[in-house]
Amino acid sequence: MDGLSRRYGTVVALDHLDLTLRPGELVALLGPSGCGKTTTLRLLAGLEDADTGSITVAGKDITRLPASKRDMGMVFQAYSLFPHMTVRDNVAFGLRLRRVSAAERGTRAMEMLELVGLSVQAARYPHQLSGGQQQRVALARALAIQPQVLLLDEPLSALDAKVRAQLRDQIRRIQLEVGITTLFVTHDQEEALAIADRVGVMREGRIEQLASPTEVYSRPATAFVADFVGLSNRLAGEVRGGEVTVRGRTLPLMQPDVPDGQVVALVRPEAVTMASHDEPEAGPLVGMVIAITFLGATSRVTVDLGDATIMAQLPTSDATTLAAGSRVALTIRPDPVLVSADAEAASPEAEEEA
C-alpha cells in the first residue's frame, strides 16, 4: 500500500500511509479507536475506496478492483456468518460462487473445518454455535477460497478473555501452517504483541512505528508508541553527555543524539525495582506506597515520591511484603530509555492496559 489517503468529510482517516506486507508474514495494526487501522484494512479489502494512493498485491495494481474480485479472505468482528446456511454451506459459499463442483466443495469445506477443529459441527447453524466457534467458522470460510491475503478485523474483540487467548493462538498456528500473508487489526496490544511478526502502531492516520513486537516494546520510536504499548512512567530528567539522569540514577539513552537539557524520560514499570530490604532512608527514589494492584504473577505498585508518582512492576512475592502506607526504596534498572523534550500528548498517565 502506497500513499493511501482517505477522508470522511473533514476527518482525515488515513494520511498518506505506506505499508508493505512480506509474503507469509502476519502484520498487526495496533492503535486507539479512530486511528485508521480498520480503514486501512477495508481499503485493502476493497470495501472502501481510497482518495489517493495505490494498492499492489503480488505486483498487480488492484486499486480500482471491486471487492468481489480481489481474492482476499476476510474475518469480521461479529455476525458475519450467513444465518440461513449450515456451517458447511457457509464455508463452501465462496467455492459455490466460483462454480466448484458440489463434491469438491464438500471435501474442501470439511478440510477447512478440520483445520479449525469444527468438523463435528458441520451440519449446525451459526446461531447454535458459541462466539468462538463462529469466528473459527468465519476463518475457515475465508481460507476456503485460498486467498492471497487474509484480513482480520478485530476478530477477537467480541469474545470473552479466555476464549480470546485460545483463539488468538489458534489463528496464529493456522496462519503459520497455511503460510498466508495476513493483516490483523486490533486495539488490544497483548494480542498484537503475542502473535504478530511485525506490529504497526498507528495514530491519526499514520503509522508511528512498524517493527517486531520486542522492538516496539523495548525500543519505542516515539513517545506515543511508548505510552500506548505497555505502561510508562514519565519522570523529569536531565540529559548530559549522551546520558540522562533521572532521580539520582544515570541511565543510557535510546537515541544517542539528544541534546543536553531538561527532558521527560519514559521509564517502564518493569525497570523499577525495590532497592533493598533495609530500612529505607530518604532519597529521590524513596516514597510511600499508595496502591498495589494485583495482576497475577506480578503486581503493580504505585509509590508517591513526594513530587512525582512512580509505578513499579514487581513480582507478587516481593509486593506482598509491602502495604499501603509503608515506605519503600526503589531503584531503576539501567535499560535504555526514551526521552521526549516536551510533555508530548500521548494519553496521560495511561492506566489502561488492554
Partner: protein, 288 residues
C-alpha cells in the same frame, strides 16, 4: 374487513406461591386488569365475527341451520353484475399479482438502499408511508382521469393491481423494514462480497433468504388489503369481491351469500396467518 392481527399474548404470570403483601396485591390486581381488558376486547372483536358466521349458516326459517349460503358462493348470479365466483377468482388473482409486484419491486430496492445509498433511506420511508395519509377517495379523484383515458381499452379488473401496490406500500414497507433491521445486512453483504459475490448474489442469495418471514408478513398484509378493498374499485367502476358483495346487498338485502362470502374471506386470511406461523416455527427459530 378487519385484518386479523396476531393474537395478543397476555403475559400471564403463573406464580406457584401467591406473593403476599403489597407487591402481591398489586400483581393480582394487574392480572385481573389484564384478564378483564383481554376479555372485553376479545368479545368486542369476536362477537360480530361469530354473529356473521352464524348468519351465514342460517336457513330459510329463523333459528335453523343450513349450508345454502355457502353453496351459493359458487352458483350465485344476478342481473347486471358478474357472477360471484368470477369476482372471487379475480380478487384472488389481484391479491397474488399485487403481492408479487410488491415483493419484486420493494425488496431489492430496500436492500439496495440499505447497502449502497443509505442517504435515500429517509426519502424512501417517506414515500412508502405517504399512501397511508391519503384517503382512498382522494386517490380515486386523482386516478379517475387516468382510468377514464384507458377505459376504452376495456381492460380487466386486474389492471387495478397498480393502485393496490401503492395502497399496500406502507404496510408491506413496514413489515419488510422490520425484517431488514433484524439482520446486520451490511456485515453480511461485506462478507459475501469479500468471498466474491456480485451484488445480485448478495441480494438474492444472502439477504433475501434471511427476510423470508418479513416477506411472508408483507404478503399477508397485502393480500388482506386487496381482499377487503372497496372504495377505489367501486369508484373506478370495476367489479372486485367487495364491490360485488355491495351490489348484491343493494339488490337483495340480507342475501345469505354475502355473509358466507365475507366469512370465507376472513377464514382465508386466517389460514394465511396460520401458514405464516407454521412457516416461522419450522425455521428453527431463526430470528427475522
Amino acid at each position: 374487513m378487519a385484518a386479523i392481527t396476531s393474537v395478543g399474548e397476555t403475559p400471564l404470570a403463573a406464580p406457584d406461591k401467591r406473593p403476599v403483601g403489597m407487591q402481591g396485591r398489586r400483581r393480582r390486581r394487574l392480572n385481573l386488569f389484564r384478564y378483564a381488558v383481554f376479555t372485553v376486547f376479545g368479545l368486542f372483536f369476536l362477537v360480530p365475527l361469530l354473529a356473521l358466521a352464524r348468519w351465514s349458516l342460517e336457513g330459510a326459517k329463523l333459528g335453523s341451520w343450513s349450508l345454502t349460503s355457502w353453496r351459493q358462493i359458487a352458483s350465485y348470479s344476478n342481473e347486471g353484475i358478474p357472477p360471484l365466483i368470477s369476482t372471487v377468482e379475480i380478487t384472488l388473482e389481484l391479491a397474488v399479482i399485487t403481492s408479487a409486484v410488491m415483493l419484486v419491486l420493494v425488496v431489492p430496492t430496500m436492500i439496495w438502499i440499505r447497502l449502497r445509498v443509505r442517504w435515500l433511506a429517509r426519502t424512501m420511508e417517506f414515500l412508502c408511508l405517504l399512501p397511508l395519509t391519503i384517503p382512498a377517495i382522494v386517490l380515486v379523484v386523482g386516478l379517475g382521469p387516468i382510468y377514464n383515458k384507458i377505459a376504452h381499452l376495456s381492460l380487466s379488473t386486474l389492471m387495478l393491481f397498480w393502485v393496490y401496490v401503492i395502497l399496500a406500500l406502507p404496510y408491506a414497507y413496514r413489515a419488510l423494514a422490520a425484517g431488514l433491521n433484524a439482520i446486520d445486512a451490511t456485515t453480511l453483504s461485506e462478507a459475501a462480497r469479500s468471498l466474491g459475490a456480485s451484488w445480485f448474489s448478495v441480494i438474492v442469495r444472502v439477504i433475501m433468504p434471511n427476510m423470508w418471514d418479513a416477506m411472508l408478513n408483507a404478503l399477508l398484509l397485502t393480500s388482506a388489503l386487496v381482499l377487503g378493498e372497496f372504495t377505489i374499485a367501486f369508484f373506478l367502476l370495476y367489479f372486485n369481491l367487495q364491490v360485488e358483495l355491495y351490489s348484491i346487498s343493494r339488490n337483495t338485502p340480507n342475501a345469505g351469500v354475502i355473509f358466507s362470502t365475507s366469512t370465507a374471506s376472513l377464514l382465508f386470511a386466517f389460514v394465511l396467518l396460520l401458514i405464516l406461523s407454521f412457516a416461522r416455527r419450522r425455521r428453527r427459530g431463526i430470528p427475522g
